[in-house]
Each structure stands twice: as C-alpha cells, then as structure tokens.
Symmetry: C2
DNA sequence: CCTGTAAACTTACAAGTGTAATTTTAATTT
DNA sequence: AAATTAAAATTACACTTGTAAGTTTACAGG
C-alpha cells in the first residue's frame, strides 16, 4: 500500500470541495469555500497548485480555465489518516479509542444506541 | 477551554517518555527513546527545549542537569486531538467514525465483543 | 585552583504550511 | 489587430518541524 501524498489541513478543506463537486473550476472552488472560510482567492489557487503538484488532484483546460478532479479518493485518505491517528494516540487499539470517547461523556444515549446497532449488524455479517 | 500548545509528531514521542517516567532527566529521556527511535541526543535535546518553550513541560535543575516534568496532561492532549480528528474527518460524528473502522474490516470479532461490552457498561452508568 | 568534560544554550538549514501579491499569458472584446 | 482582462504562473515571506552541529558554561576531579 503505497503512501498517499501528505495533505495539509488547509489543503484538505480545499479537497473536500473538490471531492464533493468535481469536476469543478477554480472560481467555483473559491466560491464554495467563501461560505466557510475567509481565504483570499489567491490562497485557494496556491493550494490547488500545490495539490496538483503533489498528485492529489489533476486538471483539464476548459479554454483558459482549469477544471479539477481528484486523483486520490477521500475514503482512502481518511483510512490512512485514521490508521495513523489510531496508532499515534491509542496504539492501534480501537477499543481504547472508543473507550476514551465514552469517558469523555461525548456520546448521548442515542449515539450509544446507534453504535450498538452498528455492532450488532456487523456481527451478523461476520457470522455468515 | 483554552487551547493546549501544538505538539508535533516527533515532540509527542518525546512527551510519551516524559509522561511515563517524569520526573526524568535529559539523558534518561535520550536513553528511553534510543530503544524505539534513531535520533541523535542533540535532536532529543532540541525537542525538549521546544517543548519547554511551548509550555508543554517544565524542568528543575539537579545541580547542572535538568529534570523534566509535564505541564500538560496526556489525557487532555489526547482529548483535544481526538476532537479535532473527529471534526476534521467525520464531522464530529462518532458513529460515522466507528462505522468507517468497521467497514475497513479492521476489527476482529473479539474486538467487536469488547466494544459491545463497553457500550453496555456505559449504558448502565448513564441510567443511574 | 585549574582543567576537562558533560550539560545546556545558540545557531543552522531545508522542507512544508499558511497566506498572499506580483507578473505573465492567453482569450475576449472593441 | 490591438487592447483589455481574467486566469494561471511565479515569487514572497514568516513560522513550524525534523534534524542536528557548534559554542559556552559550570561542576567535579586532580
């Protein structure tokens, strides 16, 4: 499993837009981000170039404009980061992690129910 | 909730030793890390100074040597990073996160059992 | 008391990141 | 075809991080 390129926090915000709306032009990316971030269009452009250089996305020309598409799947990237997070802080042990979240009282009764349902379904599948 | 200082990945490795063995001197930190990392003692010293400057740890002098102790609790730092991770990648939804781990087939039947036990216990507590 | 040595303090330097401004280029409008 | 203008390409710059090396200082031993 060859490592995916490193994506910085700000770059990731840009990628979220690309993942959701690709193929998407520079201006539209800027527009989408303007709702949630206070970034200059120049800044967004810089991040798009860096992402292209890193091979996270690619583009085609529509006359003079660029239209971007992802090269890396969001799911794959999230998987990589999840694994890294889990190892860094919980020695790779999902149980410790969930346990920590439970201790932090961050889960409502409903959320706990949901989790139990999830696990139950997973069990069934594993059985077969 | 005032933000804790930023701790880089390498710095975190150093902190793990400090958290586990504090109060601990520079040389002992270097020694502990030598088992798991290929870092020059100089590198470790740099990281210790940076951590002190950031206010993550403090030290006292034992004659000419420094003896370090943490100022930030590991648990607090992990909580902060966990929240940040969860928001960044799963919109703060623990269910989505666990669900993702389940989909990645990274949990053995045993681990799933463990999780279920955890949740059951948590439910009981929440009840009372 | 002088000196060697080990510790701490200061400096180094490239890569990555956040955050743009400036310059060039190519399409569009007169 | 020339001029306008909007996009892309290039340049900028400070801060953090990884990774140390060099320099100063103070204790311990002779």
């Amino acid at each position: 499993m060859h490592q995916l390129p490193q994506i910085s926090e700000a770059e990731y915000e840009v990628m979220k837009v690309v993942w959701e709306y690709a193929p998407i032009g520079t201006n539209e990316v800027v527009e989408k981000l303007s709702h949630t971030h206070d970034w200059s269009p120049k800044t967004v452009q810089t991040m798009l170039s860096r992402l292209a250089k890193k091979g996270v996305l690619t583009y085609e020309k529509d006359s003079r404009m660029f239209v971007y598409s992802p090269l890396v799947k969001q799911e794959d990237y999230i998987r990589q980061e999840s694994d890294s997070f889990l190892n860094r802080f919980f020695n790779g042990n999902v149980g410790s992690m969930v346990s920590a979240f439970l201790d932090q009282e961050e889960l409502s009764t409903n959320e706990i129910d949901e989790l139990q349902a999830l696990l139950k379904r997973k069990m069934k599948k594993g059985d077969s």
